[in-house]
Symmetry: C2
Subunit: 243 residues, 2 copies
């Protein structure tokens, strides 16, 4: 165990990634307090100080520590503990190690960033480029207007020169989306001193409650789905290999 501790402390100081498979008990104190009874888990400590504890099922880590945390193996009363702390954020974690199934340390090299398509931002751009997706009379105005009046996805006007605020959601529109749209419309009305500003929620579908609230507020829903850009970077795909 002593040698394992040395190995780990050395790896941590070398900023290598460390992967444990252990049987442990965990306490955390910081933004909240938590206790996790004894069980088998995978623990990962990354170069940037991030610590993740994963159970054998589930997508999210059951416990974790943020980037910038410090970690060390400590022996106390003939027991080994993995202690983590982030002093600035006042977060602390103590992992009591009942057994260590295996440990692996490794230097990983990866500075690549993921390329993602089909986001809400892509949706807004698609509508901006192809405003008939909203309606035949919808005319988007300059993108700079978006920043000027906040985080409005697409701002435009109709044939009667009414301003139109479009809020995009990539999946089901919910009550929060409606209140967000409402907030933008009210802000525009106040800042521009307008009586009438249209609000449109663009999303593939909308919950019944959200639709009711939307219509009660005089807004409307337009069914639009986020774009899948496979075709867009089809050429890049070829360059990247015969995938």
């Amino acid at each position: 165990m002593q040698d394992k501790a040395l190995l780990i402390n050395k790896a941590l100081s070398n900023l290598e990634i460390v992967i444990f498979s252990v049987n442990c008990t965990i306490r955390y104190s910081g933004r909240a307090e938590s206790f996790l009874p004894q069980g088998d888990r995978i623990i990962i400590i990354k170069k940037d100080g991030t610590l993740l504890v994963h159970q054998p099922q589930g997508s999210s880590p059951v416990n974790y520590m943020p980037k910038g945390s410090q970690h060390r193996m400590v022996e106390k009363e003939s027991r080994w503990w993995l202690q983590s702390s982030h002093q600035a954020k006042k977060e602390f974690m103590d992992i009591k190690l009942h057994a260590i199934h295996f440990i692996k340390t490794q230097e990983l090299v990866d500075s690549e960033k993921i390329q993602l398509a089909g986001t809400e931002r892509d949706m807004a751009e698609m509508i901006y480029q192809n405003p008939s997706l909203i309606s035949g009379e919808f005319k988007p105005v300059g993108m700079e207007e978006q920043t000027k009046y906040g985080f409005i996805d697409v701002l435009g006007h109709d044939d009667n020169n009414n301003l139109v605020v479009v809020e995009c959601k990539r999946y089901t529109g919910d009550l929060a989306a409606v209140t967000q749209l409402r907030r933008y419309v009210e802000r525009i009305k106040k800042e521009k001193g307008l009586q009438k500003v249209k609000g449109i929620l663009a999303c593939p579908k909308i919950s019944p409650n959200a639709l009711k609230m939307l219509e009660d507020l005089g807004f409307s829903h337009k069914a639009v789905s986020p774009p899948k850009y496979l075709e867009r970077y089809g050429k890049d795909q070829k360059k990247l290999g015969d995938y």
Copy 2:
């Protein structure tokens, strides 16, 4: 490589957890589309079919597949791929393996659930038990009222018999929290046919914009922090050692 593939496919069918350290390229298609150029990553496949891909830094997985996904090692044109799919959700991932640094399979036993204190729910209960945290005249009403009118954190009334809606946030109150409170107050007004319903946002702090909107709507902010229940299980801590 052949033997590794057999090992992995066997482990996957045995519902063991599999941990890879690899150099890979990743494509994903499903709710969105993504491409991640070549680099070193850790891959975890869990018993429930969850797949996680982690880069050497950052808290969130760069790519992932949901619970219920299926995985297999495939050889194609003298290259090994790890293919994952979730047919029902129409999600697909192809991981092109340039190198495998190590693979570990393991059976993990853990059915424990984490105990968490300091959540918004705990905050609401604290206020319900100790209403003077809101004000001297605040009197909470029965908890069953909460479900009847939705997900209101704490519902009560003041000395003048005005209904009071309290929305709790465990950290900074923001614009979304204000619109959420507004939604609850409007719902109560409509369902009960009331003219005046008070709204209170209980949170440790509040952003300037949120405070302005809150006051414009006639609501108010009360500084309350989520409870830390360390003292509740203080005795257990002592048993675990003087960390």
